[in-house]
């Protein structure tokens, strides 16, 4: 951030954990940000200060601390709203994570307490997702289909790891109530085109949701420009703490939707035989929210804004180009996902012949301090699609370097030696 220029060494100094040593004196090479990101000192300090000086419950406490905490909590909402280009701050709902945001929307459909036509669902209605979804954008819709008798349909994925939209018109049709797809795949890195799907959804009167858990942390996302109806993402993948996520939705839809969880602070008035509900966003924020976590997310948004999301994207694009080339030099290594960096984020998943990802990950960690994720990354249908049980995944963020990719490649050569 020196002189407005992106400087990864300067950035790394903001992340205390990156300078720690692992047992045995190994340096930490953290290539697992797609799983969860590390936190800059600014986020840690903000959360600490909130707890040391301002903490109390929000919304309901009339004293000084209550006012300060409420102001900080609501300021975090303003920051998130500005960060994603939300037309209104009330369209930003704090959840505990992206999964809750997706479930919140899924539970709005087929709910007998909601008579809005857009959220009615029953036999004959259809929900469309894709083969490249994270389980959190699959299971809520499977459960919805089971509750309502609706049919769940899937966009296929091409061998290159792109969405196959060749049957778009047939898959998204007048029976479709909602299309929910991932904006950037957590396994393939693929950034999906929204426009064509959205245009078709609009044509048939279906709603559209984006799982943006892997895009909002890594590129400038403007929800108004994207034009979808709902966008879900999570704080812990974007330098913020765990326990805080976001649902953005169009105001008129959020207002028409039934409450999700009932409890304190989401009501207008409660009688013994019924209740009326607070306006959005509070209608969807039952109970004491994750106060410190929301404020921490606000600090993360400040940090990313100061760096500049275009700079983050540019840096990660360079790492992706470098990483794709470096991995192509490992004998037999197969990238699962696009092999070029176009419309692709810094997530590199791969297999190595005759060596299971768990063994790859174990040796990378134990011998080289390289932290990657191994397994199906909560995207089992996608792995089945590619006929593999698991992959090894290296995922990059603004604090990663080409040296760390070199360490990964050195580690992979050693893995092949052990199993050779």
């Amino acid at each position: 951030m020196t002189d407005g220029m992106f400087d990864v060494d300067r950035i790394r100094k903001d992340f205390p954990i990156l300078s720690r040593e692992l047992p045995g004196g190994r340096p930490l090479v953290y290539l697992d940000s797609g799983n969860s990101s590390q936190k800059p000192a600014q986020v840690i300090a903000t959360m600490r200060e909130e707890m040391e000086r301002h903490y109390s419950n929000v919304g309901r406490a009339l004293h000084t601390l209550g006012a300060e905490s409420t102001a900080a909590y609501e300021a975090a909402r303003d920051k998130v709203a500005a960060f994603i280009g939300a037309p209104g701050r009330d369209e930003v709902i704090f959840t505990k994570n992206a999964s809750e945001a997706l479930n919140l929307v899924a539970y709005s459909f087929g709910n007998p307490t909601c008579d809005d036509e857009r959220f009615r669902m029953g036999p004959g209605d259809e929900i469309v997702i894709s083969e490249m979804e994270h389980h959190s954008n699959i299971v809520p819709w499977q459960l919805l289909a089971q509750r309502t008798g609706a049919t769940l349909r899937w966009f296929p994925v091409t061998d290159e790891g792109r969405l196959d939209l060749s049957r778009l018109e047939e898959l998204v049709n007048e029976r479709t109530k909602i299309v929910s797809v991932v904006h950037q795949s957590n396994v393939l890195g693929t950034v999906n085109p929204v426009d064509g799907i959205l245009a078709r959804a609009r044509q048939v009167g279906a709603l559209m949701m984006l799982d943006a858990s892997q895009s909002v942390p890594h590129r400038a996302v403007d929800v108004a420009a994207l034009g979808a109806d709902f966008v879900a993402f999570t704080g812990h993948k974007m330098l913020g703490p765990s326990g805080i996520g976001v649902l953005w939705g169009r105001h008129d839809l959020l207002s028409a939707m039934p409450p999700f969880l009932g409890g304190g602070e989401m009501i207008e008035a409660v009688w013994m035989d019924h209740s009326t509900f607070a306006p959005v966003p509070h209608k969807f924020e039952a109970g004491t929210p994750p106060i410190v976590e929301a404020i921490g997310l606000g600090a993360a948004v400040d940090y990313l804004t100061a760096v500049g999301m275009d700079e983050v994207l540019r840096h990660e694009h360079e790492l992706t180009v470098y990483g794709l080339k470096a991995l192509s030099e490992v004998p037999g290594l197969r990238i699962i996902g696009p092999t070029t960096a176009e419309d692709r984020g810094g997530v590199l998943s791969f297999t190595i012949p005759d060596i299971h990802p768990h063994d790859v990950g174990q040796i990378l960690d134990d011998n080289f301090g390289v932290a990657v994720r191994v397994g199906h990354h909560c995207a089992r249908p996608l792995h089945l699609r590619f006929g593999i049980p698991a992959t090894t995944r290296a995922s990059f963020y603004l604090y990663n370097t080409t040296d760390e990719i070199d360490a990964l490649v050195r580690g992979l050569h050693h893995v092949q030696k052990v199993f050779g």
Binding site: P23, H358, D359, Q362, I363, F419
Partner: protein, 145 residues
């Protein structure tokens, strides 16, 4: 270089050259066990004979070197043994795996399976080593039922 104690030569050898792999007939019981967190799986068949003799342990599966080598070592130890003795080995193996690296393994009971002692220090991998052994215990229980 902690992993050196995990990936013992014997484990790598069994992984590269699994013993007794492949499902065979006849059998008394077949079980399928999975490890949902990592997707490892094993299908195991057991054929018992007179006097509690274990005539065959056949298996197929997929997963990491630890889980696959553990199945191979189990095949060697159990086939030709007796139900009683093999379950004693399973018990000792389980005690070792769940001992967080603090348990001194009984090599007389475990034989080659002692090579897995290092796995006990990696809590995330213990379930890999135990997968086939738990499947065997289950299959024997079903065979005897």
């Amino acid at each position: 270089m902690i992993a050196e104690s995990l990936y013992q030569e014997l484990i790598l050898e069994h992984y590269k050259h699994p013993q007794g792999r492949g499902l065979r007939d006849p059998y008394d019981a077949e079980v399928h066990h999975v490890n949902p967190t990592c997707g490892d799986e094993v299908t195991m068949r057991v054929k018992l004979g007179d006097g509690g003799k274990v005539e065959d342990v056949s298996y197929d599966g997929q997963g990491c070197s630890i889980s696959q080598a553990a199945a191979s070592v189990l095949h060697e130890l159990a086939t030709g043994s007796t139900v009683g003795h093999s379950l004693e080995v399973v018990e000792e193996f389980t005690r070792l795996m769940q001992g967080r690296g603090q348990v001194e393994p009984d090599e007389d009971v475990l034989g080659d399976a002692v090579a897995f002692a290092g796995v006990a220090k990696f809590p995330a991998r213990v379930k890999c080593a135990l997968l086939a052994w738990m499947a065997y215990k289950d299959a024997v229980a079903r065979s005897s039922a």
